[in-house]
C-alpha cells in the first residue's frame, strides 16, 4: 500500500499517463494528415493503363486501383480495375480475380481521354477526323493534329459561352420590365406605358439578338464536325467529339516530365476550375471561394459582436445576477449542437428577416425569393452566432489581463472612460481578441450542418463576388468544401470514382483552415511582440 502510494507520489505514473495521452492524440492527428496527404498527393498522378487478357478470352483495359483477398474464395487475390468507358460498359470499376488473368501488358498505344461527360475513356485511337480531312492513328502527325483540334475546340467553346452570356445580358432589361409589369398588375395599377416600354426594349433586343443567335449554329456545327474515333480493348468502336475531350494522352508512353506536366495541369484544373459530372470531376474553385468568403464574412460579423459583448460585460456591467446569467448562457451556447443553430438561422434569418426584406425591397420578383431563401449572408450570420461565445470568452480574458496600473495611467492623464478603452485597453487586449477570432475561424471553417439549412448547395458556379453590380451578391447560394466532401463522398451516384476527389478536397480544406489560422497567429505574434515588456 505504501509502495503504491509512494509510486503515485513519485509522479512516474502520472508522467507516463500524460505522455501516453499526448502520443495518442498526436498519433491520430498525424495519421489523418499522413493518409490525406499520401492519397491526395497520388490522386492526380497519371497511372499506367494495364491490359488484362482473361481466361474467357475477354480483355480489360484500365488502371489498377487496389488489390485485396477475395472474400468469396479463400486464398484468391483480386484486383479492382478502373475500366472507365461508362457509356459502353455501364460501370467504372470491375473486379478481376488473379486466377482468371492469362496475360497482363502495358500497351504503348493505349490512350486515356478525360472527357467533359461520361468520365474517362480508355482505348486505342483509330482515326481523327478534322476539318482538313482524316488522320490515321499511326500517322506521325496524329498527336499534333489532335492538339491543334483540341485547342480549336476550346476556342470555339469559349466563344459560344461568351455569346450565351451576351444573350443573357441583352435579355436582362426586358426581364426586369416584365417583373415590374407583373408587380404593377398585382397591385392593380395601369401597365400600358410599362407594356409599351417593354415592347420597345424587346424590339431592340430582338434586333441585337438576331445577330448574336445566328452565330451560334455555325459554332455548334463546327464543333460537331470534328471527332476522334476510338476502339475499346474489346473491339467496340466509339466516336468521341473533340469538344468533349479535356485531356488526351498515351499514358503508358509518357516520359516522367510529361507525367509531371499532366500532374500539374490536373492540380491547377482542380484548384481553379468549376466542377463537372455532378462534382466528381473538374475543379472545386467555387467551393474554395465560397468557404473562404463565408469565413471572412463570419469573422467580420463575429469579432465586433463578440468584442462589444465582452467589453460591456467586463468594463461597464457590474457583477450582478444578470451579468452572471449572461456569462452562463454564453458558455452554454458553445455547447448547443450546430444543427440547432442551423434551424434557428433558417427560421429567423432566412424566413423572418429574409422574408421581410423581400416584401420590402424585392416585391417585384415575388414569389421568387431573393433574401427569403438560403444564401451566403444568412449562412455567415448563423455561423457568427455559433462562434460568438468563443470570441466573448477570449476577449474577456484579454481584457482581464490589462493591468489596472495602465488603466489608471490613462485616466490620470485626463482620458475619459471611452478614450481609455479605445486607446489603451483594447490595443492591450488585442492578442486576446485575435485568439478569439482564430478559434472562431477554426470552428466556423469546419462547420457544415448549419450551412446545409442556410445556403449551401451542391453546385453554384456563380460566385458571390463578380463584376456585375453590386459586385458582392450576399443573397447568392454558395458551395463549401465541407459540404462538397459530404456530397461527393457520400451522396454522389458514383462514390468510388470520386474517392480521390474527396481526399484532395479534404486536403484543400485542411490547408485552407491552417492558412487562415496561421495568418491570424502571425498577426497575434506581431502584436504580442509590440506588447512584450523588456523591463521590470
Amino acid at each position: 500500500m505504501s509502495g503504491l502510494r509512494s509510486w503515485l507520489a513519485d509522479g512516474v505514473a502520472q508522467r507516463w499517463l500524460s505522455a501516453a495521452a499526448i502520443m495518442l492524440s498526436l498519433g491520430m492527428i498525424g495519421g489523418l494528415v499522413v493518409v490525406v496527404v499520401v492519397i491526395s498527393g497520388a490522386a492526380f498522378w497519371p497511372r499506367p493503363l494495364v491490359e488484362f487478357t482473361l481466361a474467357d478470352g475477354n480483355r480489360v483495359l484500365g488502371e489498377e486501383t487496389e488489390r485485396e483477398p477475395d472474400t468469396a474464395t479463400a486464398g484468391r487475390i483480386r484486383t479492382r480495375i478502373k475500366v472507365a468507358n461508362r457509356e459502353v460498359l455501364g460501370a467504372d470499376f470491375r473486379w478481376v480475380p488473379d486466377t482468371e488473368v492469362v496475360a497482363r501488358r502495358l500497351p504503348a498505344d493505349a490512350w486515356l481521354l478525360e472527357r467533359r461527360e461520361y468520365g474517362a475513356f480508355h482505348g486505342f485511337p483509330v482515326a481523327l477526323s478534322v476539318e482538313t480531312g482524316s488522320v490515321a492513328a499511326g500517322d506521325p502527325a496524329f498527336p499534333s493534329t489532335l492538339g491543334t483540334a483540341m485547342a480549336r475546340a476550346r476556342a470555339l467553346l469559349a466563344e459560344e459561352r461568351q455569346l450565351l452570356r451576351r444573350v443573357d445580358r441583352l435579355h436582362a432589361p426586358v426581364a426586369a420590365l416584365e417583373r415590374k409589369i407583373t408587380a404593377a398588375e398585382r397591385r392593380g395599377r395601369d401597365v400600358t406605358t410599362l407594356r409599351e416600354r417593354r415592347d420597345a426594349v424587346a424590339a431592340h433586343e430582338q434586333a441585337e439578338l438576331g445577330g448574336v443567335l445566328e452565330k451560334l449554329p455555325a459554332i455548334r456545327e463546327r464543333l460537331s464536325r470534328e471527332s476522334l474515333l476510338m476502339r475499346t480493348t474489346d473491339g467496340v468502336e466509339k466516336s468521341v467529339p473533340i469538344s468533349a475531350i479535356v485531356r488526351a494522352m498515351p499514358v503508358n508512353a509518357l516520359s516522367t516530365s510529361q507525367k509531371l506536366s499532366v500532374y500539374a495541369s490536373r492540380w491547377s484544373e482542380f484548384l481553379f476550375d468549376e466542377p463537372r459530372e455532378s462534382n466528381t470531376e473538374g475543379g472545386i474553385f467555387p467551393a474554395i471561394f465560397g468557404t473562404a468568403l463565408m469565413v471572412m464574412l463570419m469573422t467580420i460579423v463575429v469579432v465586433p459582436l463578440g468584442v462589444v459583448t465582452a467589453v460591456y460585460l467586463n468594463e461597464y456591467a457590474r457583477d450582478t445576477f444578470f451579468t452572471r446569467a449572461v456569462r452562463l448562457a454564453l458558455a452554454n451556447l458553445a455547447g448547443v449542437p450546430s444543427i440547432v443553430f442551423g434551424a434557428f438561422g433558417l427560421a429567423f434569418f432566412v424566413w423572418t428577416l429574409g422574408g421581410a426584406l423581400d416584401r420590402l425591397f424585392f416585391a417585384d420578383v415575388l414569389p421568387n425569393p431573393t433574401f427569403g431563401t438560403g444564401g451566403i449572408l444568412w449562412a455567415s450570420l448563423t455561423l457568427a452566432l455559433l462562434t460568438v461565445p468563443v470570441v466573448v470568452v477570449a476577449t474577456e480574458e484579454g481584457l482581464q489581463a490589462v493591468p489596472q496600473a495602465v488603466r489608471d495611467g490613462a485616466r490620470a492623464l485626463g482620458a475619459t472612460r471611452w478614450q481609455t478603452l479605445r486607446r489603451v485597453v483594447l490595443p492591450y487586449a488585442s492578442p486576446g481578441i485575435l485568439t478569439g477570432a482564430i478559434l472562431a475561424v477554426a470552428r466556423g471553417a469546419g462547420e457544415v450542418a448549419p450551412l446545409m439549412l442556410t445556403g449551401v448547395v451542391k453546385l453554384a458556379p456563380a460566385l458571390a463576388v463578380d463584376l456585375q453590380p453590386p459586385f458582392l451578391h450576399l443573397d447568392r447560394k454558395f458551395m463549401h468544401l465541407g459540404f462538397h466532401i459530404y456530397d461527393v463522398g457520400f451522396q454522389s451516384p458514383n462514390v468510388e470514382a470520386a474517392k480521390a476527389m474527396v481526399y484532395v478536397t479534404v486536403l484543400v480544406l485542411l490547408v485552407l483552415v491552417v492558412a487562415l489560422n496561421l495568418t491570424a497567429i502571425a498577426l497575434r505574434t506581431r502584436l504580442r511582440r509590440r506588447l512584450r515588456s523588456a523591463a521590470v
Binding site: 496600473a405 485626463g414 482620458a415 475619459t416 523591463a535 521590470v536
Partner: protein, 254 residues
C-alpha cells in the same frame, strides 16, 4: 496665482472608503514650485491624500470625503471643472512604471492627443520639451518611434513623467515613483525631479526618508490618517517639533 497662494491645499479633509475614515481632518498647504514630500508608515493615508488632488480616489468603490480640496484657488469638486480638465492641470506618476503599449512618441503625446491637439509642429515641440523635462530626450531622441516597453525600468518611469508633463500641468503628484527602481535609476529620477521643481509644484509620496531628505524642500509627516507635522525638510529632520515625528525618523517604528 500669486506666490503666496498654495498650489495645493486641503482644509479639514476627511476621506475614506466604506465606513472607514482613512484621512482625519487634514489641513495642508503645498507651496508652489517646490518639492513637498509626504512621509509616514504604510497605511497612514499618504497615497489617499495624494490621490485626492486629482480625484483618482473617485474611481474606487465606496470612496467618500468631507472638507475642502483645492488646486490653486479652485475646488477640485467645482462642478464647472471637468474631471479631465483637472487632470490636465494635475499630472500623476505611479509607483510602478506604466507605459502604454505604444511607441515612445505616442506615450508622451497621449495627453495632448486626447485633448484634441493635432498640429504636427506643436506635437513635435511638446514631445521634445516633455522628454527634455524628464531628462530622457538624449537617451531616446533617435528612437521615439520604438515601443516604450523596450525601455529600462528607470527610463520607463521618466517616460511616465514626460507623459505627465506633456499636458503642461502646474502640479505633479508622484506616488512612490522610485520604489520599483534600482539605486542608479533612483538617483537619476531624483535629479530629474530636482530640476523640474523650478517650474512645477511636486508632491511626492515616499517611503524612503533619505530620498525626502535629499530632494524635498518641505516634508509632511502623516500618522494613522492625521497630519502630525509639516515644515522645512531640514528643520523636520534635525529638530522635529513632535515626539512621534522624532520617533519615526529615527527609526523607532514604521
Amino acid at each position: 496665482m500669486s506666490d503666496s497662494t498654495p498650489a495645493l491645499s486641503t482644509r479639514a479633509l476627511v476621506a475614506g472608503f466604506g465606513g472607514t475614515e482613512v484621512l482625519k481632518e487634514i489641513t495642508l498647504s503645498v507651496s508652489p514650485r517646490q518639492i513637498t514630500a509626504l512621509i509616514g508608515p504604510s497605511g497612514c493615508g499618504k497615497s489617499t491624500l495624494l490621490r485626492c488632488f486629482n480625484r483618482m480616489n473617485d474611481h474606487l468603490a465606496g470612496f467618500f470625503h468631507r472638507g475642502q480640496v483645492k488646486v490653486g484657488e479652485r475646488d477640485v469638486y467645482d462642478t464647472g471643472w471637468a474631471l479631465e480638465e483637472l487632470r490636465f492641470q494635475v499630472g500623476m506618476v505611479f509607483q510602478k512604471p506604466n507605459p502604454f503599449p505604444m511607441s515612445i512618441r505616442e506615450n508622451v503625446l497621449f495627453g495632448p492627443s486626447i485633448a484634441g491637439e493635432t498640429d504636427p509642429a506643436t506635437l513635435d515641440e511638446v514631445l521634445e520639451r516633455s522628454l527634455r523635462g524628464a531628462q530622457l530626450w538624449d537617451e531616446v531622441k533617435d528612437r521615439v518611434s520604438d515601443s516604450a516597453l523596450q525601455l529600462s525600468g528607470g527610463q520607463q518611469q521618466r517616460l511616465c513623467i514626460a507623459r505627465a508633463l506633456a499636458s503642461s500641468p502646474a502640479t505633479l503628484l508622484l506616488d512612490e515613483p522610485a520604489s520599483a527602481l534600482d539605486p542608479i535609476a533612483t538617483a537619476k529620477l531624483e535629479e530629474t525631479l530636482a530640476s523640474l521643481a523650478a517650474e512645477v509644484t511636486i508632491l511626492l509620496v515616499t517611503h524612503n526618508l533619505q530620498q525626502a531628505g535629499r530632494i524635498a524642500h518641505r516634508t509632511a509627516f502623516l500618522y494613522l490618517g492625521e497630519l502630525i507635522e509639516e515644515g522645512e525638510t531640514t528643520q523636520l529632520f534635525t529638530n522635529p517639533r513632535q515626539r512621534l515625528t522624532e520617533e519615526y525618523i529615527t527609526g523607532r517604528f514604521g
